[in-house]
Symmetry: C2
Subunit: 199 residues, 2 copies
């Protein structure tokens, strides 16, 4: 009857989109294949046929490209601001990273995925602005901790004061932190307080 035959690759994409949204909103465990299939107007078995298993579906849905800007082309003093702006924008437009973060909270495999993203993308992008190459991982991790902390508060815990902040306000407050973690000469000293916050 109503067969509504569809293109195949098209439904595959539709499943992926719905899956991303569900994973991002409810986390891995509470997301069911049946729910995804239902919302994608398809039979659950089709999800299996396309992706093999729930595990593989998640992996496919959580493939992430942070699309980090080339920091060598950014004035050194603007690195913090640039990164915070980038991440806030990314979180607001795509729930994929949130999905991964949620799952990482209770699944070691997803945590491993986050670690590899961190190492391959964040640490790499951030390297050129750190004073001491040997401290790149540490500085990158500190910056990541603050950025993820904001994401946690804003999208997962929904802490009202953070949710109420505009993207610009977040940038204003957090950028100096990232700037210090990445570019300060040492833990305790700021790099050049007089120049922070130009604009």
């Amino acid at each position: 009857m109503t067969d509504a035959r569809r293109s195949g690759a098209e439904t595959r994409d539709r499943i992926l989109a719905v899956a991303r949204e569900h994973f991002a909103r409810q986390g891995y465990d509470r997301t069911t294949i049946r729910a995804i299939a239902s919302e994608a107007q398809i039979d659950p078995s089709m999800v299996m046929r396309y992706f093999g298993s729930k595990e593989e579906l998640f992996t496919a849905a959580a493939a992430i490209d942070l699309a980090l800007p080339d920091l060598t082309e950014v004035p050194v003093g603007d690195v913090g601001r640039t990164l915070v702006t980038h991440f806030v924008r990314m979180w607001d437009s795509d729930g994929t990273l949130m999905a991964l973060l949620r799952r990482a909270a209770s699944d070691p495999a997803a945590a491993e995925q986050m670690r590899s993203i961190f190492a391959a993308q964040v640490a790499r992008a951030v390297a050129p602005v750190c004073p001491d190459p040997s401290q790149v991982p540490r500085r990158a991790a500190l910056a990541a901790s603050q950025l993820l902390g904001i994401a946690l508060g804003r999208y997962v815990l929904v802490l009202p004061p953070i949710v109420d902040m505009t993207p610009d306000e977040i940038v204003e407050w957090v950028a100096p932190t990232i700037q210090r973690y990445l570019a300060a000469e040492s833990a305790q000293t700021d790099q050049d307080p007089d120049r922070v916050g130009s604009s």
Copy 2:
């Protein structure tokens, strides 16, 4: 047979202890009543009798007292350092907070619990050191975001660079951030009046 009759309140505590550990390690969904009961050497139904439901068991296991120090008795400049030290020590000694954090990642009720802990304990403790009372929630939330971000990186995601840091090193790097969020005159300036670089 081997009845090994026990004191009651004692087994209740045992269940609670095992539950805390499981919730902290695996999160809420992946923790099963059966597993808890098994490790506590008891029948699953006893867990229900003592706590009513898995939900209530979690609530009982996640009752948290942050035991925050009285910041009015701490030199203003040491507030950041004091708080970071306190939290790092707390995370290392008790997994309860981690259990709650993990669950909050996928369960709105646990997130709500975190919000109330935040409002009742963090915001309250932090209030006296903020310059502008109206900004207390925002400043407290920013501080919380950084502290939770570190917890996330160190205990949940297990980012090597953060795990490798000693508690003292974490304090060294993070304390200035907390200090600025709580006590700085504005987002962009450090608290030291001499360094306020106005244009």
